[in-house]
């Protein structure tokens, strides 16, 4: 049984930064686009930069959508990777993995609110969760996105940008963060560490 942390290679541009972040935590990292690897790894990280439609198509081409859905051990979606855990994204009107109920919508623009939402923003907790152990309320995380999931039953952290949205979600083995832990300084490192500490 593979006990390595696996980053799903879905052609996204942020794979290197996530691998670097895990290397800083002295973790063995494997990057793979093989369905069997994705099923076997103890912890899987699903990154994603780009847009939902092409990202889902790439997963499906390699059977990775099926491998991900079949997992019973921890999965962490980052940014677009988190959005892909939901049922649907308004971005290119795409069906997603559906491991979490709900839809991903485009962030609204408003006077003084610009999209993409890029930069550091504060996290407001709604519920305590092991993923956020040791993280003080009101910490800043680094966001880069134009689409987001609203507040729902799986929301574990909340952020605001024109609307309240899910900064993080969790249901059973499925976890997602809308921000980039790999670029969120000490806060991000702690969240990755917390994820890797989850029982597999």
């Amino acid at each position: 049984m593979n006990t390595e942390v696996l980053i799903v290679d879905n052609g996204g541009a942020n794979i290197a930064s996530i691998a670097f972040a895990l290397a800083r935590l002295k973790r063995c990292v494997r990057v793979s686009s093989d369905a069997q690897d994705v099923m076997d790894a103890s912890h899987v990280i699903l990154p994603g930069v780009g847009s939902a439609g092409p990202a889902m198509a790439r997963l499906q081409r390699r059977g990775l959508d099926i491998a991900l859905r079949a997992r019973t051990r921890p999965v962490l979606g980052i940014c677009l990777g988190m959005q892909l855990l939901f049922e649907h994204s308004a971005e290119s009107d795409s069906a997603c993995l559906g491991t979490l109920q709900g839809r991903v919508e485009r962030l609204p623009t408003a006077p003084g609110i610009y999209v993409p939402h890029m930069g550091w923003n504060q996290l407001h907790w709604l519920s305590p969760h092991p993923l956020f152990e040791g993280i003080p309320l009101g910490s800043h995380a680094y966001f880069v996105h134009s689409y987001a999931a609203g507040i729902g039953p799986y929301t574990t952290a909340r952020c605001e940008h024109g609307m309240a949205f899910s900064a993080a979600v969790s249901r059973q083995q499925w976890h997602g963060v809308q921000f980039h832990p790999e670029r969120s300084g000490a806060l991000g490192a702690r969240i990755l560490q917390n994820f890797l500490a989850m029982a597999a």
């Binding site: 541009a13 942020n14 794979i15 290197a16 930064s17 670097f20 972040a21 290397a23 800083r24 930069v49 780009g50 847009s51 623009t109 003084g112 610009y114 999209v115 993409p116 890029m118 930069g119 550091w120 800043h140 680094y142 880069v144 996105h145 134009s146 980039h180 790999e182 670029r183 969120s184 300084g185 000490a186 991000g188 490192a189």
Partner: protein, 239 residues
């Protein structure tokens, strides 16, 4: 950070670590000599910076095609910033945004100010990295900002040339004019000389970020005290 050759990779890494420790929110690495000489940045250092930094960073200089951008992003950079190549081939913005998403694509603009009938007129310059080649591009700054956004730019860095290096404050009128029509994050560049200048540009031009180099390199402005000052002034930033 402005640099030219590999000998200074050690310096780049030291500076990057220093700014990360000091609490910088984002770093931008400029190779200002890349475009005029028709070459691209040497990318070995990007990997090293990517491995070191846990805050976002952007790389600017000589990115002329999808492959250039891919190499930079896959080495760990969050964003690529394009300037002269976008002026020569505006379609590059569309291509990069379609391939990598707007959030990766920063358009940098060097803007000069002239007076026309007593009113300021803002004009885009290109090849500003080489004083012998720097010249007006024939484009109006405000319309270029709008075009860049329409083509898919996810962020605009507006460098106000008349203020650059003078340290007498950011160009508030120009940045306000840009802010009025810029629907993506806007970063002010050029003119930072004191903490007060940062407060002014956030409070009066409502920019999303303020970029500076020399005042930080020289140690004249210390990032933790700058952040304290801004928080006191009511600017919402990461402490």
């Amino acid at each position: 950070m402005r640099f030219r050759d590999h000998q200074r990779v050690g310096d780049i890494l030291k500076l990057a670590a220093r700014y990360r420790e000091a609490g910088a929110d984002e770093l931008v690495f400029y190779d200002i000599t890349a475009s005029p000489n028709g070459r691209t940045v040497d990318r070995g250092w990007i990997h090293q910076v990517g491995a070191l930094l846990d805050i976002p960073f952007c790389v600017a200089g000589g990115i002329r095609c999808i492959a250039d951008a891919e190499a930079v992003l896959s080495a760990g950079a969050e964003k690529i910033s394009i300037n002269s190549p976008a002026l020569a081939h505006p379609d590059l913005i569309d291509q990069l945004a379609a391939r990598f998403g707007s959030q990766c694509v920063v358009v940098g603009i060097d803007s000069d100010t002239t007076q026309v009938n007593g009113l300021p007129h803002y004009r885009v310059h290109q090849y500003t990295g080489d004083p012998t080649r720097s010249r007006p591009s024939g484009r109006d700054t405000l319309s270029w900002i709008q075009e860049a956004i329409a083509r898919g730019a996810g962020e605009i860095v507006l460098n106000c040339m008349r203020h650059d290096g003078v340290r007498e404050g950011f160009d508030l009128p120009q940045l306000q004019a840009a802010r009025a029509l810029c629907t993506v994050p806007l970063v002010a560049s050029g003119g930072a000389g004191s903490v007060r200048h940062f407060e002014d540009v956030f409070c009066n031009a409502h920019v999303d970020g303020a970029l500076a180099a020399s005042v930080f390199h020289s140690g004249e402005i210390d990032i933790p005290s700058l952040k304290q000052h801004l928080i006191h002034a009511g600017v919402e930033i990461r402490p």
